[in-house]
Symmetry: C2
Subunit: 317 residues, 2 copies
């Protein structure tokens, strides 16, 4: 049986990953470089080129029919440019054009990283079989993507599902995005750690002052550490309920480092959800852990490329 | 030229309106009864039947090909039932089946009133030509509906766009829906009046203690009255920005009694929107008054019926 082969790029603030992916979502070969996000834009582009060169050395490369990019946002899928918050050297950077020059005439698709993750979870992971889903990453930042009516909805510019920057606290703390009371400002890993420290928590002997350290303390019963996770869970619950109330999703899938703390996050989150998801049509909403792990970005970017090829609503393999 | 003719029902807590509507959105004849929402469910159904009987007396009734219902929510389009918050006698009431029995074998469609209004504004009003729009009503309650990718999106149960019950203040006042800090709890007419009274505003010689009275005082320069409108505008801005950040709308259309106060609401709303709609892909978002007035519910319900007939994404007439 003929198999469509595509290339995928997952552009983040820390690393740039690439892969060849088959039409069942299988990753055949990978390449990865540090983003070097603090350097100039051409240096970052050099890392992308280097990833592509390594992939092109694979014997299967000539069979690649399209390339999909999932990038830290915001992106502009209409113009093929990206402006990742954590990559200051890229502002309106013409990534689709530059990648296109390297790989020749193959079609190139671009979506935000949250959209890519939603595509991956819908295709292969925890949102499989759900026509209306929110998929989130709660990590250094908070991002997401939406599946509506059976298909991933990137939105006109590829940025739909940016749930980390909706306000759930209209008088709340200023967020680096310029807003106030954003979900990310309350629920991201660094903000879980900051809030615990502000309220008197101190790291243990290992000196780990990150959200992972807070999680360890919470598991050991530290009330300040537990409260910081509960507050993050409350903000996530309000935002998930808001999304369900606006667009009728029936499942929220959450991955990322903070979600990996498991019940510490999911138990208070499910509890808080009852307080915010009140209308009859959202009361059945469930929240589950993501299944795609670190491959979500690559698999989702590949899904975007395959969707371009088939013209359909999404991969079905 | 052949003209498709449909019947429309607009079910609200105060009145039940019906009409015959042509496929260009023209209202040919109307009928209306008080809902008598405090009485039992059969009494309310009697008002619906009476509206339909009056419409059926029109000479054009035999040409009617379908009937569309827009109802105060929540609705359940999957099961054809409605449970309007303000009509306690109807809980899981089988409105589609009951209406179907009265009108014979015609197809009957059902959506929430917010969805109907969005359909009307997209078809004939302020959202015309916009592929991605939020349409809202700010009145006794706060409701809405969404246009995504060029078509109204009712959602699986017909309730999408319930923006009045998303929380923008996660620690805020309890809302009658069971939630906390809901947009409706801050921005509806009764809450604008309540907040002004709580903060020391008193009605003028006419004794009008409603939002209209607050609006008159605000226009005369009363600072407490102005502040109450500004607070409503802030909550609306946060919720509109959240919607745009989640699903990439480029226009928000606002109708209803509170929106009729014009610049008193729209000026602080547009100002506050800058504070919450911060990401690059939502900065172009505009907010405009609705154009369909009191006919929006009927025209939108008719749009739903026509969509059923044509099978397409929406009326194009």
């Amino acid at each position: 049986m003929h198999t469509d082969l595509v290339a995928a790029l997952d552009i983040g603030g820390t690393k740039i990953a690439g892969a060849l992916v088959d039409d069942r979502g299988g990753i055949l070969v990978r390449a990865q470089r540090p983003t070097r996000a603090k350097e100039d834009g051409e240096t970052v582009m050099g890392a992308v080129a280097s990833v592509l060169e390594e992939l092109a050395e694979d014997a299967r490369w000539p069979g690649v029919r399209a390339l999909g990019i999932g990038s830290a946002g915001p992106v502009d899928a209409l113009n093929g440019t990206v402006s990742p918050v954590n990559v200051p050297g890229w502002r309106g950077f013409p990534l689709v054009e530059r990648v296109g020059k390297i790989i020749g005439g193959l079609p190139v698709s671009l979506v935000g990283d949250g959209v890519a993750i939603a595509a991956a979870e819908h295709w292969q992971g925890a949102a499989r079989g759900h026509d209306n889903a929110l998929c989130m990453v709660v990590s250094t930042g908070v991002g997401g993507g939406l599946v509506l009516g059976g298909a991933v909805r990137p939105g006109p510019t590829g940025n739909s599902g940016h749930i980390g920057h909706i306000s759930v606290d209209l008088d709340g703390d200023p967020c680096p995005c310029g807003g106030r009371g954003c979900v990310e400002r309350i629920a991201s890993g660094p903000n879980i750690a900051r809030r615990a420290l502000d309220n008197g928590w101190r790291p243990g002997p290992d000196g780990d002052a990150t959200a992972a350290g807070v999680a360890a303390a919470a598991r050991a019963g530290d009330p300040v550490a537990r409260a910081s996770f509960a507050r993050a869970a409350q903000a996530l619950a309000a935002s998930i309920a808001a999304t369900a109330t606006l667009v009728e999703i029936d499942i929220a899938v959450i991955g990322g480092g903070v979600a990996n703390s498991g019940d510490l996050l999911f138990t208070p989150l499910r509890e808080a959800l009852k307080e915010y998801a009140t209308l009859s049509f959202v009361q059945g909403l469930t929240v589950v852990p993501a299944q795609m792990g670190n491959d979500a970005g690559l698999v989702g970017a590949a899904a975007g490329a395959l969707r371009e090829l088939t013209g359909g609503p999404g991969p079905t393999g």
